[in-house]
């Protein structure tokens, strides 16, 4: 039976590196995924955010109160690091198109072994998603990733980012509209 998270946290606080290593293993994929999405197109930044998140957590574990869950706390540290690293993009204005286009032209890749053409298509789609994310302010990227990739609820996302649920809903809605517009336009442009 795996050791409970609270036991691992206690042992980590007492300076047991093996216990903290177990916590890292539990959360590192999630933290890396968040960093990779938010630091869209900047893999070195994503690696740094991933590493700094756990180093910060290790140093500040004594201040962790346990009220919001370790995952929420780690997401919060990672989000703050993303903000700090990417803050020059924070105030970049953007306008999500709110009209009603046809919605045609966006196709998802098939889940089979890809041909070279399909592999290239998948790579192009990945690049298109990264390019679209990069145009969004960091707070929108964080909300979109926490909600639509990590699967957090509006309430959990609000806790991580220390904003209201209404702010999460608003950023999520506008961010999704922006992504839809960018991805549909790119797909139509390539056709």
């Amino acid at each position: 039976m795996p050791e409970s998270e609270s036991a691992l946290i206690s042992r980590s606080r007492e300076g047991d590196p093996a216990a903290f290593e177990s916590l890292v293993r539990r959360y590192e994929d999630r933290i890396y995924r968040l960093a990779k999405n938010v630091c869209a197109g900047a893999p070195a930044e994503a690696d740094d955010v991933y590493q700094e998140t756990f180093l910060t957590a290790f140093k500040k574990l004594r201040t962790f109160r346990g009220g919001s869950g370790l995952g929420t706390w780690l997401y919060r540290i990672a989000s703050n690091l993303c903000f700090m690293r990417l803050r020059s993009n924070k105030r970049r204005p953007f306008v999500a198109a709110l009209d009603l286009p046809s919605g045609e032209g966006l196709r998802l890749p098939a889940d089979s072994i890809p041909t070279p053409e399909q592999a290239a298509g998948k790579r192009e789609l990945a690049e298109a998603v990264a390019r679209a994310l990069k145009l969004l302010p960091v707070d929108y990227r964080l909300v979109l990733t926490l909600r639509d990739v990590e699967g957090l609820s509006n309430e959990e996302t609000a806790k991580v980012l220390k904003v209201s649920v209404a702010a999460v809903k608003s950023r999520l809605h506008r961010g999704r509209l922006f992504m839809r517009e960018r991805l549909a336009a790119l797909s139509e442009g390539a056709a």
Binding site: G15, P17, F20, E21, V24, E28, D29, Y32, R33, K36, N37, D47, Y50, Q51, F54, L55, F58, K59, L98, D99, L100, P101, S102, G103, E104, L106, R107, L108, P109, L125, A126, V129, A130, L133, L144, T145, D148, V149, N154, K169, L172, H173, R176, L177, M179, R180, L183, A184
Partner: protein
């Protein structure tokens, strides 16, 4: 193509997709979409964009080098903390 009268529903479309709206409002939006092809297509394209983001967002595990660097840094931190602890 712009549709008068669709704007109110459009503002709620994210919550509609997430299932976060009251049942009566969901029924009203569904009834509207049954009669409004552009809104239907819009919701479908929004769902596709979300699925695409989700699929592309599934990054692999951290690169081995980044993992190794983190473990090294944690080992250094542990050693430094042990040195600082009073005997």
């Amino acid at each position: 193509m712009k549709h008068r009268g669709c704007g109110k529903d459009l503002a709620k479309v994210s919550e509609f997709i997430d299932g976060g709206l009251p049942a009566a409002m969901c029924r009203r939006i569904r009834a509207h979409m049954d009669d409004c092809r552009p809104c239907r297509d819009f919701v479908a394209s929004l769902r596709r964009a979300m699925a695409l983001h989700r699929a592309q967002g599934r990054a692999p595990s951290p690169p081995p080098l980044a993992k190794a660097e983190l473990r090294d840094a944690l080992r250094s931190c542990t050693a430094a903390l042990k040195k600082r602890k009073p005997r």
